[in-house]
Amino acid sequence: MPMASPLPPFRPDGARRTPVGVWGAVLIGPGALLALALTGGANPAAAITLAAASGAGGLLLARRAVRRAADPATPVAAPAVVDHPPPFDVILETLPDPLMVIAAEEADDLTGRRFVFANAAARELFKLQPRGGLLVTAMRNPQVLEAVDESLFAGVRRSVDYVGGGAQGREWAAHCAPLGVDARGARLALLVLRDETDARRSERTRADFLANASHELRTPLASLSGFIETLRGHAKDDVGARDRFLGIMQAQAERMSRLIDDLMSLSRIELNEHIAPSGQVDLAMAVIDVLDALAPQSKAKAVSFDPVLPPRGAALVEGDRDQIVQVIQNLVDNAIKYTPRDGVVRVEVFPGLTAEMAAAPRDPAAARLSLLTPDHLEGERYAVLRVSDRGPGMAREHLPRLTERFYRVEGQKSGDRSGTGLGLAIVKHIVNRHRGGLCVESVQGEGATFGVYFPMAKGEPTVAAPPAETASRALS
């Protein structure tokens, strides 16, 4: 984070030093504000990001602005009319970083801060009206508000980190800089947010990976070295024991490699969790592919599938095909493991439901819990995938912990090919990345149903079945 490190010099007289004519420009357009932000003790890092974000034209402009800032004699009010670059307001508007200009009249009126300009990224992030409003409606984090106040009334630049809420929990660095006083006497400040989720998350994921790997690999490793010791020692010439031990060792080695695979894919998914996937996937087709792929496992256990799927193209969801396949595979694989011999695994897909309908219980008597709920979006439709097994089910108290890494329901065996304990954690992170939801329902002794729902693909609403009809089916 380049901006957070050196605190810019304190410039209480920054506003007065700038030519008065410039403040008139504040009212002309937000473009002038950028220029002002850069003059007030220009931060090169900000200039570079701003420039890089708005393409080559923007780069030239920002460079020019910086150069101007260095030369106090040059007025900043009318930059770059010479060779018709894109206007500043367009550049600001298209910046990927959320940016706001905040105005305040009285120092003691803490809630009276208003935003007078918010670019498209800021409006989308905070769901704002373009014509301005009270700052607290967009941002209520006390630390950021304090930083804004210091920029407004103490004339200093400040940077603070804060975590935005929501299912994906993004981490932001908020940078504030004073912009002086406008024609009506209101003080102005710039607030720019930079998404630093990537950097922070990769740090944490690496730490988590190491902790998990070192802890979970120790057990199979200890058993491996134990067997090796025995084989080199008193079991040296015992053919029967050697074969048995080698079998166990192979199983342990396979488990270790599965564990590493799962940990790696969990780390990868976690790193990208805040980036929504692009692409469209037909949920029903993906289910068919997975069921084909898992046929050997189901045959080995004499478990049959009972798929209830909509026609091709009806359950088109937004997503990454490989990841959605992994979700279906983990859920169906689990269901096969827990279903007794000659049992049936039911796999259903229902498109076109609202979030409430998608998460609605099907059996009122069952213990039920939503393990992941997407952020509320008006009018969003979801396609639901439900996988039901006829296994032993789980007691209510286990449900909240199911997606925990390495959590196991006591006294249950998933069969000889034991899992890594990461399957559901992977499902949860993938579904969260897809802005979807996950819920579980279980009656002890009768089985469990896992439901995941993904946002439907936008653009072809006519393809989906009428929601009312599907809903009644889903809820029946």
Binding site: E105, T111, L134, P142, V163, H376, R396, L399
Partner: protein
């Protein structure tokens, strides 16, 4: 500085909402920090959380004063009256949330002296994130006057209860297994209870928003979990 302009009635009402939102932000930050200091065993942060609670109390008193003044002088009717009363009630709920956060901070200070129990604090953190999300959602619903979102928060109350019950069980197992953990586990139990109460306050705020926007109580039965199951 500049002279005080006489604010219009509508502006005064908006201002009250904004003040409650700002207080909400403060309460949110307190809850988030309280959870953080449990998860990271961060004693200085815990002291800050305890010290900052006063600001919430001051803000609440201020909002109360403003709301009373507005009701007395402007004599609002119908939706405006509900607006003022909602601000009053929500600020009280938020102040209580702050108290819980402060209490969690105090317990975090004690817990930093005991041995770390990562598995347990992880569960607490998970529950904390859930509660934090509910508080955020309900405050977003309040700022945006979004009825659907408020109802959404209100309907998802059971999740927190489920987590609380799971943690309760987990803690009991620990305490039975090793009596030396009873002291820290008892503190964690109260932390979980405090979080559950904050979740209840979020539900309560959702109810207040529903009344503010529609003038009617939420009638249907709230999904409630029986402990005996």
């Amino acid at each position: 500085m500049t002279e005080h302009t006489v604010k219009s009635y509508g502006e005064e009402l908006n201002h009250l909402t904004a003040e409650v939102t700002r207080m909400g932000g403060l309460a949110e930050a307190q809850v988030a920090d309280a959870i953080d200091c449990i998860a990271r065993r961060d004693a200085p942060l815990a002291q800050q959380v305890v010290a900052r609670d006063e600001r919430l109390d001051t803000l609440q008193a201020e909002i109360e004063r403003k709301a009373f003044k507005l009701i007395a002088l402007r004599q609002p009717m119908a939706v405006d009256l509900r607006h003022a009363v909602a601000a009053l009630k929500i600020s009280m709920s938020l102040e209580r949330c702050g108290d819980m956060a402060k209490n969690i901070g105090k317990r975090a200070l004690i817990l930093t002296e005991a041995d770390p129990m990562t598995a347990l604090t992880r569960s607490i953190e998970r529950m904390g994130k859930l509660v934090q999300g509910r508080l955020k959602d309900v405050l977003d619903a309040y700022t945006a006057s979004d009825l659907q979102r408020a109802i959404g928060v209100w309907g998802r109350d059971e999740e927190v209860d489920e987590h609380y019950n799971a943690i309760f069980r987990e803690l009991l197992t620990y305490m039975m297994g090793d009596p030396r953990t009873i002291n820290p586990c008892a503190h964690l139990l109260f932390v979980a209870k405090n979080l559950e109460r904050i979740g209840d306050h979020a539900t309560n705020i959702a109810e207040i928003i529903h009344f503010e926007l529609t003038g009617e109580e939420i009638i249907s039965q709230r999904p409630k979990l029986e402990l005996s199951k």
